[in-house]
Subunit: 263 residues, 2 copies
Amino acid sequence: MKNLRLAAGSDVRLACRTGEFMGPTPGLAPGFVHANLVILPKDWAFEFLLFCQRNPKPCPILDVTEPGDPEPRGVAPGSDLRTDLPSYRIWREGELVEEPTEITKYWQDDLVSFVIGCSFTFEAALQTAGVPVRHIDEGVNVPMYCTKIPCRPAGRFHGPLVVSMRPLTSEQTIRATRICGRYPLAHGAPIHFGDPAAIGIHDISKPDYGDAVSVHPGEQPVFWACGVTPQAALAQAKPPFAITHKPGYMFLTDMTDGDLDVV
Amino acid sequence: MKNLRLAAGSDVRLACRTGEFMGPTPGLAPGFVHANLVILPKDWAFEFLLFCQRNPKPCPILDVTEPGDPEPRGVAPGSDLRTDLPSYRIWREGELVEEPTEITKYWQDDLVSFVIGCSFTFEAALQTAGVPVRHIDEGVNVPMYCTKIPCRPAGRFHGPLVVSMRPLTSEQTIRATRICGRYPLAHGAPIHFGDPAAIGIHDISKPDYGDAVSVHPGEQPVFWACGVTPQAALAQAKPPFAITHKPGYMFLTDMTDGDLDVV
């Protein structure tokens, strides 16, 4: 297997497809766009697309497939969403029931796949600018938290904003805000920094998803809208069937950071 | 009636509702976000939302209503899309059949309304920066053209990109590119400048929608993606029934330019 820290997006997909790689993706394929995945039956697709439209910070849409088509042609031609992620989650009636490493046997002709931007995309740009990315430095998954900030509902979908967190100094926070603001399709600028309780997070050492990371003296937690937000909304909306990625175990596209840098 | 060149978005809506104003909206309510309108039956809504998602330059979504609800609560609480635009277009099977000034009698419980960004939004910012907006200076509607650039299809929706045009010098083009790039939800930076034939426009003096404007010596035509693009797609997709605004006769929201300035 190639060194996935120096690989292209397609290399990571291939390693997932062959079963060689099943881990979280922070730090892999630097410069390639990582993505969240939500798969729903067609009769839930309009409401979910509207939920994304109404909540563009956590749910920036990169691609939507035709019903039954597992290939997101806009962002990764030739890929297969059923095999090319390291790990998935199967949901029934809003309950997480399984975490398989491929989903071929679950596929249905009416499934629509939503490929949603991910903050891992701008992490290479942060590191290049000297802004540390703690979970990469510590070799773990990014910490993610449910907040008390409500999303704007759409039909049956509603729920809290989920955020990712990176600890930074004040100067690094300013620099990260400017850099990430160039990537609205990867969640863009942070939504909060400083007091976690102000957005409903009561213990920064216990993330709801992913792994805890160290916060050094002089640093504060900085929070970005996160593409796991739809998973919290799925748990509320309880569609009969849904598939997502496992938080932090992302789909690697062929898009590069430059494709998302709008400024 | 108030002087609508010094009014708020809500003043323009009221003047439309009372029948006092029925004209094109360039230059009105400076600083308030102008919007395109597309209204479709619910069973066409997913494909159209997907068409917008796949063509974000011409179709940046600002708001989508619940079926049957004529109030776009996200961008103009208290407004009524049936009466608050200066002029509308009624479409049957892809044919333009009427241009009424209100649509109350056409309303149905299954209609979903899409409020889409408009380039008139950044014109105040251009003028403030010394970049001329010729159609405002000449007191006419903006010129708009069908191009040979195809949109990315979604279901039954496909068709050419429609563009608006403003003549500028090279220096003004650079300045306008930087300014408009801050407003991706109002079509953002231009998509082309210079030779109109390169994008399939053969006579700049004969726009497909709106009015022709003068191009002065030293100026070139500069083209922006335009929210009339969905009307060209409606003509191809031929839904049984649809309502849009009349090109250039926009819906004024309560959003301000600052709400759309992402940088």
